[in-house]
């Protein structure tokens, strides 16, 4: 699923679309806890999650830093949180696509899951 398709499904705004972010996203994960995101990477091969979108209600530069650290290529902010310039700059610097939507995290997960986006797994590379 392309970033544009995701944006359309969720009525989301795209804030950062770096070169190379025209990738096919094939899985997603939702968390507001960055340490938890890092924890669940332990069960995955090191080249995963190259095609994941991180869905979070948390808005701060640490979300981008965490994503960059484990090579997550796309982040979606939920519940109407609009990223500030600092977050956008950091995302561009790290080649991470950024989207935001007014929908709640649960709704977002439901829609993407029903459209075939898997929960994060070994295949997400």
């Amino acid at each position: 699923m392309k970033i544009d398709e995701i944006a359309e499904l969720l009525d989301a705004t795209i804030h950062s679309r770096p070169d190379g972010s025209d990738i096919d996203i094939n899985c997603g994960g939702a968390s507001d806890l960055m340490s938890d995101v890092l924890t669940y990477m332990s069960d995955l091969p090191p080249n995963v999650p190259k095609r994941m979108i991180l869905i979070t209600g948390l808005m701060n530069p640490q979300v981008i830093r965490t994503s960059a650290l484990v090579d997550i290529p796309a982040v979606l902010f939920t519940r109407g949180k609009v990223p500030g310039q600092q977050v956008i700059d950091k995302a561009k610097e790290n080649d991470i696509a950024i989207l935001s939507t007014d929908l709640k995290t649960y709704t977002v997960c439901g829609i993407l899951y029903s459209k075939g986006l898997q929960s994060i797994n070994d295949e997400c590379k």
Partner: protein, 314 residues
């Protein structure tokens, strides 16, 4: 109820006493032991000592039973007399001072006090060598029991990959080193050092799996400095023989109870830190999970965290 000073002292001694009574030598000895048989040459022993940075090797027979010990001193003498290609049994020390694997810590203490050696083989009832104890091992064990040091060594038990010990001279020997000063109390800024370190690892072509494990470990440690350690600290990283060494030091108040801090979900983080997606009590555990060796030393002057990431054997 008020205690007088004598009672207080007694209570303190009792506390220390329990440190010595609790625990067996098998809790802290190095295992599996590195051994050789008497038929191997002194040159073999020399190579093994060099590769593993050890100063003595227990010598065993075919049944792993202790027959002697070869020390650095024996090697030097053999070198001087050009006997380095002789079999070990000609030059080893027989009648070796050793410890039993069911000895209590207190017994080990008194044994070490009356014997002047640095290194002792540990044998079981069948006289088979099952481990090695040095004075340093005992000291480390006692510190651990006192609660201001935490040690986790995932690899030591299941692999014989030697962890290289760094000395100060090693650190200045090459350009494979990284350093970064942490100086912020702003949680939004935490993680800059780890991001740079990740780049450093990528530039040095460290494989992606090790890069990830190292940067996650360092990131958690760096965030801890900002959240708990007063925001001032240093990061040092070294690459030696493909092993990644990281040291994070802060000058904060220290961790009061390291064992408690290691528990998943335990946190002393502020509401502000939690709002930023941290302080869930997962940080130290993530470090433990992603690094192969972790040492945390805490005092009222601050915390020092040493982490080592070792590549998987391919």
């Amino acid at each position: 109820m008020k205690m007088n000073s004598f009672e207080k002292k007694l209570l303190k001694y009792k506390q220390y006493d329990s440190l010595l009574i609790n625990g067996r030598i098998s809790d802290f000895m190095s295992k599996p032991p590195i051994t050789l048989t008497g038929e191997a040459t002194m040159a073999d022993a020399k190579a093994l000592m060099r590769d593993n940075k050890i100063s003595g090797i227990p010598i065993v027979d075919d049944g792993d039973k202790l027959t002697g010990l070869v020390s650095l001193e024996n090697i030097i003498v053999a070198l001087e007399n050009q006997k380095i290609n002789d079999p070990i049994h000609k030059h080893m020390v027989t009648n070796v001072s050793h410890l039993m694997d069911d000895m209590a810590v207190s017994a080990v203490m008194s044994y070490l006090m009356t014997h002047g050696y640095h290194r002792y083989p540990v044998v079981n009832k069948e006289k088979k060598v099952v481990g090695i104890v040095t004075r340093g091992d005992l000291m480390l064990h006692l510190y651990t029991q006192l609660g201001n040091i935490y040690m986790h060594n995932k690899r030591r038990d299941d692999l014989l990959t030697p962890v290289i010990h760094l000395s100060d001279s090693d650190k200045s020997m090459d350009d494979m080193s990284f350093s970064y000063d942490i100086n912020t109390r702003d949680i939004d800024m935490a993680g800059k050092g780890s991001t740079l370190f990740k780049k450093f690892l990528q530039e040095h072509e460290v494989p992606v799996a090790e890069t990830r494990r190292a940067s996650i470990s360092l990131y958690e440690a760096e965030v801890n400095v900002v959240i708990h350690g007063g925001g001032k600290g240093e990061i040092k990283g070294y690459l030696v023989n493909n092993q990644i060494f990281m040291v994070v030091v802060d000058h904060g108040p220290g961790i009061e109870d390291i064992d408690l801090a290691m528990e998943i979900g335990y946190t002393t983080a502020t509401a502000e830190a939690r709002k930023r997606g941290f302080g869930a009590g997962l940080g130290l555990n993530n470090i433990k999970q992603y690094s192969d060796k972790l040492i945390i030393i805490s005092s009222s002057d601050g915390v020092k965290i040493e982490m080592v990431v070792i590549p998987e054997n391919k």
